[in-house]
């Protein structure tokens, strides 16, 4: 009898525990919801107060004789907002170990120095670097997107715009709340920020128009061993790779060597282009979609096919979706080349492991001419702006104003300098007038790209006073110790091939077929080009396969994109 009661008690207890468990689950989300509500209530409050103040100013204006002076139209919040405004700032989550992008010393520093001063609650929203479009899309559809909605590439901005993500901006308002920023970027914003005749987006500055630390590493010791010179044309490069292969060394993994699956940022055919063909470039040069049917892309693939069929590149290159295999191949000594951004982390991630496996390894920067037929290296030049951002269509007036005030605050030299470099004596030491990083790892340490994901709204790269300071600093900042020559070589090659830099055409109307077809075409691109490269064993086969695939690609939507771009191009709707 007693045993039975006990059993029953135990059973009831278990059931209770489970129900309680679910209830707590619900309770958790419930309290979330309520805090959301509170947030909303707050913004609503802020909303009403904004309307109130607006009406007040209007009446004041009327009293003063209905003048339209820009300043009079805006409320002065330099003393702080009367009600706390929540400013949600997106920040890239790049998967760095030991770094929480939404809660660290610098987010607190921003809150203390900006937020507390103006009664703004700065909240950082993490956006996956490689999944940013999905993340923003989900946030937008859930109605919980941050105040800024950004992307580095213009066509994506146009796609967000077409989805109704942005509210129209007022140039006077930006000029009023962010005067110093407007002075710097106003012209560019009024030029590039206009979509369909309306000012929709603003952008951060960019002074460095090509990357100063992206390069292809090559095994100099292999070249030395075979007494080969640095290849300066694609033809020489392929010869060199053939000799590496014959000597049993290894293959190429990147650059025109196609080290990994090309699945985004379709600008690899740059060096195969004829720069005088402006229309062809306008229609086909696009990071968001591959120009399968375009001659330069065909030539690029023809070379890749040659390299693949002759064993000059990784036979499994298409299995590598993120570049990790390419890196592993290089580190283990299987590959002759590897392309990457060279920075302080390169020492730990690439050079040291490589030396561990191959103590005799010596590195050099591959002449970019080696990726170009005839050695005429060309590269995509950035537009004269960096991060592009609009204000969330759901953001209130006060949130938008707080956003401009945030931009203005960050644009101040003293703020930007600290945010980009940290503190003297901790994060950096002054070395011949240049801030040289100390490799500081304490609480105030900067993120791996020197907090770039926070100040990107204002600047795409660090600010320097002079060209000379830039050159010195770029070496100090990026070069792994003992490998300063790598960065110096990159800069040297940049000068050598300066005339080959060319920006993509920036259209001022959304190319709607691009949003419609680009990811579909990307899928088709991946299967088509991999199969063309890996299966075509002769020139004739390459040609027949290419023609067939090209037609399929055009039919799958690329022709529509070309037509729409052509119409925009002919109408002069581009920069």
């Amino acid at each position: 009898m007693k045993k039975k009661t006990l059993q029953r008690l135990a059973a009831a207890g278990l059931a209770m525990a489970m129900v309680a468990g679910t209830l707590t689950g619900c309770g958790g989300s419930g309290s979330d919801a309520s805090s959301d509500n509170a947030d909303q209530a707050q913004t609503e409050e802020a909303d009403t107060s904004a309307t109130e103040t607006e009406t007040e100013t209007e009446t004041e204006g009327e009293e003063a004789g209905g003048e339209t002076a820009a300043a009079g139209d805006f409320t002065d919040y330099s003393g702080g907002f009367p009600e706390t405004v929540t400013l949600q700032v997106p920040v890239y989550e790049r998967g760095w170990e030991g770094w929480n992008p939404t809660d660290n010393y610098w987010t607190k520093w921003i809150q203390e120095n900006f937020g507390d001063k103006y009664n703004v609650n700065v909240e950082f929203i993490s956006i996956g670097r490689s999944t940013e479009v999905q993340d923003f899309t989900q946030l937008l559809s859930a109605g919980s997107a941050p105040t800024f909605v950004f992307h580095y590439d213009y066509p994506n901005i146009l796609a967000y715009y077409a989805q109704g993500a942005y509210q129209e901006l007022n140039a006077d308002e930006i000029a009023y709340y962010a005067p110093s920023f407007w002075e710097r970027m106003g012209d560019i914003i009024q030029d590039y920020g206009v979509i369909d005749g309306k000012l929709m987006v603003a952008m951060g500055d960019r002074t460095e128009l090509v990357s100063s630390n992206f390069g292809t590493l090559i095994r100099q010791d292999w070249l030395d061993e075979l007494q080969l010179p640095m290849p300066t044309t694609l033809e020489e490069f392929n010869d060199t790779l053939m000799k590496f292969k014959d000597a049993g060394y290894g293959f190429a993994t990147v650059g025109s060597g196609g080290g990994q699956l090309l699945n985004k940022s379709f600008n690899f055919d740059n060096s195969f282009r004829d720069l005088s063909d402006r229309e062809g470039i306008a229609l086909n040069s696009d990071l968001a979609v591959a120009a399968f049917s375009w001659e330069p892309t065909k030539e690029y693939m023809r070379n890749l096919n040659y390299q693949y069929q002759n064993g000059l590149i990784d036979p499994d290159f298409y299995l590598d979706q993120d570049g990790n295999q390419a890196k592993a191949n290089f580190i283990s000594g299987k590959a002759a080349t590897y392309s990457c951004y060279i920075n302080a982390g390169t020492m730990e991630n690439v050079i040291q492991p490589l030396l561990q496996n191959n103590p005799e390894a010596k590195l050099a920067i591959l002449d970019p001419g080696a990726n170009a037929p005839g050695g005429k290296s060309q590269a995509r030049e950035y537009w004269p702006f960096g991060m592009i951002y609009g204000i969330n269509a759901d953001a209130t007036d006060e949130e938008r104003i707080a956003a401009w005030m945030y931009i203005e605050w960050m644009n101040q030299d003293e703020v930007l300098t600290v945010l980009q470099n940290g503190f003297e004596g901790k994060n950096y030491e002054l070395k011949d007038g240049v801030k040289a990083p100390t490799g500081y790892t304490g609480e105030e340490k900067l993120s791996n790209n020197d907090n770039g994901d926070y100040w990107c709204l204002v600047n795409a790269n660090k600010k320097y006073d002079s060209e000379e300071e830039f050159r010195k600093a770029i070496v100090y900042v990026n070069a792994p110790v003992g490998y300063e020559y790598l960065i110096e070589d990159i800069l040297k090659y940049q000068e050598k091939y300066e005339e080959g830099f060319d920006p993509d055409t920036c259209f001022t109307v959304p190319i709607e077929s691009l949003a419609e077809y680009s990811s579909d075409l990307t899928e088709l691109w991946k299967e088509s080009y991999v199969q063309l490269v890996t299966r075509a064993t002769s020139d004739e086969e390459f040609e027949t396969m290419y023609e067939e695939m090209k037609q399929e690609y055009l039919d799958a939507g690329y022709q529509e994109i070309l037509d729409e771009k052509k119409a925009a191009f002919d109408a002069g709707q581009y920069h």
């Binding site: 129900v19 999905q134 419609e516 199969q531 799958a556």
Partner: protein, 318 residues
């Protein structure tokens, strides 16, 4: 009187004696409260999202919200059915799932029957656990393992084959081979877990039946074929019906994890397309329309097979 009619009569009898719901609830409130948990889950994650099926009939953008968007009738559907990948994905979905059904469905039954015959309890438990394990690995991990083991240039298995003097086998980077690998790995991953229901069903077989069979001189093999198998037949039929409902669906992660771009002949399926359109491409209306189409066909298949099963004298599902 047959077994089934006996059962039905017994149920009727029991129903007569049953008290009102209130009394039942008072007596079994613990059980009812336990039921709330799955019920809540089901409503929240299975029924509430159905309200969004409406966007399949709308020209819908992400900022439109629940009620926004313009009604366009079946325009989205005609766009979906006219898409160049639609027919291919339909074919592949059916092909992969039918093959899965043919290869994968009997495996757990065979395995369960075999496990049931194992007398050494320790060996049985260890085997069972090892067989369950792959079920708990995510497809992403399995995909990584598979490429480490079977890829043609760097895979361990091919390295072994080559060292033994054989020619490397292109397990994953050639269309037909990929298909075979896909099916075999699917069967490997799911067969252990699938045995659980059958084993449970086998334990409920009346042991007197075995005794009777033994008395009649049946050996182990004959007992298995003539006693165990018929006794778990209704379980098999129910699981088969449920499996048939999935013939238009299938796992999207499994394909994504195992695919590569050198072999794309069989990798474009409806779930993959739904993912590409909906998640990668922001084409929510199209993706929803395709998903709805898939579900409707799935429902029809389930109902049809249920109807057939009942006609054949089985218990059925609905």
């Amino acid at each position: 009187m047959s077994d089934a009619t006996m059962k039905k009569l017994a149920v009727k009898e029991a129903r007569k004696q049953q008290k009102s719901f209130k009394d039942c609830f008072k007596r079994d409130w613990q059980l009812y409260s336990l039921l709330l948990i799955p019920l809540f889950f089901c409503i929240l994650f299975k029924y509430v999202p159905m309200a969004w099926l409406q966007i399949a009939f709308k020209d819908w953008k992400i900022k439109d919200g629940f009620f926004g968007g313009e009604w366009v009738g079946f325009e989205i559907f005609s766009k979906v059915f006219g898409h160049r990948n639609f027919v291919k994905s339909l074919r592949n979905t059916l092909l992969l799932n039918v093959l899965d059904l043919i290869v994968g469905f009997p495996m757990p039954i065979i395995l369960a029957l075999l496990l049931n015959e194992v007398k050494n309890i320790v060996f049985k438990k260890v085997t069972q656990t090892l067989l369950y394990l792959p079920h708990f690995l995510s497809w992403v991990i399995i995909g990584g393992l598979v490429y480490q083991l079977f890829s043609v240039n760097t895979g361990v298995v091919n390295a072994l084959i080559q060292n033994a003097g054989g020619a490397p086998i292109n397990f994953l980077q050639e269309d037909t081979n990929w298909l075979i690998t896909y099916i075999v790995i699917g069967a490997w991953q799911s067969m252990g877990w699938g045995t659980i229901i059958y084993l449970a069903s086998i334990t409920s077989v009346n042991s007197e039946l075995y005794e009777a069979a033994r008395v009649d001189g049946a050996n182990r093999w004959q007992q298995m074929l003539n006693v165990t198998l018929p006794c778990i037949r209704s379980t098999i039929v129910i699981l088969l019906i449920m499996q048939l409902g999935k013939i238009m669906g299938g796992s999207f992660e499994r394909i994504m994890a195992l695919m590569n771009y050198a072999t794309t002949e069989y990798t474009m399926t409806i779930p993959v397309l739904v993912y590409q359109w909906g998640i990668q491409d922001m084409k929510f209306s199209q993706s929803t329309a395709l998903g709805l189409f898939q579900s409707v066909i799935g429902l029809i298949l389930v109902l049809a097979s249920d109807w057939i099963a009942k006609k054949l004298g089985e218990d059925g599902l609905v």
